[in-house]
């Protein structure tokens, strides 16, 4: 994955919260699809994965906050409602959020395609019931993906969630599906099979 920043999910992660209400469609609020195509398959020059990540960062959450990419800090958390990652299984939004430095997406609800695509791009997405009322933009959060809890240091509220199984955490650790596949050994593969 080159020099792409990755969250260290084996430690408790600390970062700021960015809370957005309502639908977060992958093709609009999270990363406008039409604009993203300039950095995609039909761009004048084939971009590398890292170049694409850097370019799509500018579009992350753009319809809701055009300056989001300037304000968000590496390791911050995206807090979303029960329609986070809504719509198509387009994965450009996952790349945009990783490019913006989002450490983990914490949401009231999402769908399988967004969750799987995000994991496969090395972006953790977890459903945390009550997160929308437990965090506001600007709060500082601690998140432990392995143990399954989030603590709001600003309000001292703690919420828990079901952690991902070890093989999914391992895909995230490696930075996504492709680097995971390249490194995977038969032994780890067997342990992953239920």
């Amino acid at each position: 994955m080159g020099q792409v920043w990755m969250p260290d999910i084996d430690k408790t992660m600390t970062g700021g919260a960015w809370r957005f209400e309502g639908t977060l469609d992958v093709d609009w609020e999270l990363c406008p699809y039409q604009a993203s195509k300039a950095f995609g398959k039909e761009s004048a020059r084939k971009l590398t994965y890292i170049e694409r990540m850097e370019a799509l960062k500018m579009l992350a959450l753009q319809p809701l906050d055009p300056d989001f990419h300037k304000k968000v800090q590496r390791g911050d958390f995206l807090i979303g409602d029960d329609r986070t990652g809504y719509g198509h299984d387009h994965e450009h939004a996952c790349i945009a959020l990783r490019g913006a430095g989002i450490g983990t997406v914490l949401c009231e609800g999402t769908n399988v395609n967004f969750r799987r695509n995000s994991i496969h791009h090395g972006l953790p997405v977890v459903v945390v019931k009550g997160i929308m009322s437990a965090a506001k933009t600007g709060d500082t959060l601690e998140v432990n993906l392995v143990e399954g809890w989030v603590k709001n240091l600003t309000s001292s509220k703690t919420l828990t969630f079901k952690p991902w199984p070890e093989f999914v955490l391992d895909i995230i650790r490696k930075g996504g599906l492709y680097p995971w596949l390249r490194e995977e050994t038969p032994a780890t593969n067997q342990s992953a099979v239920a």
Partner: protein, 425 residues
């Protein structure tokens, strides 16, 4: 203990276990051909090295379809990407008969149905997009692999979490002029964008049983908009007749137990549903056509994985026969597959469309695939049987997209404004 739903049964058989529970993480395999889009970089497949053997677990079980760009696509897509995919197919050994390139192209999900690549009781995986769910109409577990394709292509299995299942029972008969697309949009409007979060919808009830296969594909094409992973119609004689005319493969359909476990059970009576129109930009705010009737349009589109099959185009022809498209409107009708186009030719539909002044590109995803084909310009107002109405879906982000059934789109194209199709049927 509750019985097993059809998804639990399909997934259990796929992993070779007596049973699975909702929430289990399992690695599923598939007996079906997996569909790969032939005109993009295949959702991350471009990162695979075709020379690293073995790079594909079973090339016999790969199908390649040129659909999203078709012949109307961007030069790079229809040129370079197609060639790249053909070279990849050649290198890894995908059989020529599994490749539907220009000349036999179409929407991936339409061709996968025509070829019976998805089968009752089986896991069907596609690398194309979220509308893979259309194939759930054939009674299998049909999901998109998306960016996760590489694991499946190289190893022959993919990890999944056994999903919860929602049962939605549709009863009654629709009024004349109301079609499966209207029923789907109405139900989505009722249950909302998070109505079936990460669930699989099982559609049943006497309304569903009476639908032909084309209407069932329509009902199943858009499951993702209530945040469902996919949906399924348990197979009946309609399904089995359709599949058996297309494949000799052995079929062992599966059905949920009478006391199966469901996350939720909903019922809707379709008898009072009106033709629906979904205004931009949110996907789920369907309303009766009367609410938007009279709104001037500049473009109209019929086709796509949702409504690009023969029965959809026949419906359009019923409205358009002997009529002309309004001079201020461009109506693009794009058949969902070359076979659909051919049948329209044989049955006289193409003549009706040409006499009406319809623009008829070759089979593909049409205008819905990101505006590759007659894209919307700033200020355009379009009514479409496509899948999405978010800004920029069909071209300019400064254009409005209204979604409706092929009948409503055709009627609106004739009058130049959003129109109740019953006035022209």
């Amino acid at each position: 203990m509750a019985g097993k739903n059809v998804i639990q049964k399909i997934l259990a058989r796929s992993v070779g276990k007596p049973s699975v529970e909702t929430g289990d993480f399992v690695h599923v395999r598939s007996n079906c051909i997996t569909t790969v889009g032939g005109d993009g970089d295949g959702r991350g497949l471009g990162q695979l090295d075709p020379n690293a053997k073995p790079s594909v677990f079973d090339p016999q079980r790969i199908g390649i379809v040129v659909g999203h760009a078709g012949a109307g696509g961007m030069p790079r897509t229809a040129g370079n990407h197609r060639r790249k995919m053909r070279q990849w197919a050649e290198t890894v050994g995908v059989p020529r008969e599994n490749i539907f390139d220009l000349g036999s192209q179409g929407v991936e999900h339409v061709i996968a149905g025509e070829q019976a690549w998805a089968l009752p009781g089986e896991v069907y995986l596609s690398i194309v997009d979220g509308h893979t769910t259309a194939l759930g109409a054939l009674g299998g577990f049909a999901v998109a692999l998306s960016y996760g394709a590489a694991e499946y292509i190289t190893k022959g299995y993919t990890w999944i979490e056994v999903p919860p299942v929602a049962r939605i029972t549709l009863t009654g008969r629709t009024k004349p002029g109301v079609f499966a697309r209207d029923v789907y949009e109405y139900v989505l409007g009722q249950i909302g964008p998070n109505g079936t979060p990460s669930q699989v919808i099982v559609w049943d009830g006497d309304y569903v049983r009476d639908l032909d296969m084309d209407a069932r594909f329509t009902l199943c094409a858009n499951a993702l908009f209530s945040s469902a992973w996919t949906n399924i119609i348990e197979p009946d004689d309609v399904t089995l007749d359709y599949v058996r005319t297309r494949t000799n493969k052995a079929l062992v359909p599966l059905y949920g137990d009478a006391d199966a476990e469901y996350e939720q059970q909903l019922r809707f009576d379709v008898s009072d549903i009106e033709p629906q129109v979904v205004p931009p930009p949110e996907r789920h705010r369907a309303a009766a056509v009367s609410k938007h009737a009279g709104l001037k349009i500049s473009k109209a589109h019929i086709g796509t994985c949702a409504n690009g099959r023969y029965e959809d185009l026949k419906l359009a022809a019923m409205v358009l026969k002997g009529r002309k498209i309004h001079p201020d409107v461009m109506l693009n009708i794009t058949a969902g597959s070359t076979a659909v186009y051919r049948r329209c030719l044989d049955e006289g539909l193409i003549g009706i469309f040409m006499d009406a002044g319809v623009f008829l590109p070759p089979a593909s995803c049409g205008m819905c695939a990101g505006g590759k084909n007659t894209p919307l310009a700033d200020g355009d107002v379009c009514i479409s049987s496509g899948t999405c109405n978010y800004p920029g879906r069909m071209g300019s982000s400064k254009a409005d997209i209204y979604l409706a059934s092929p009948a409503t789109v055709a009627a609106s194209a004739v009058t130049g404004e959003i129109t109740d199709p019953r006035q022209l049927l």
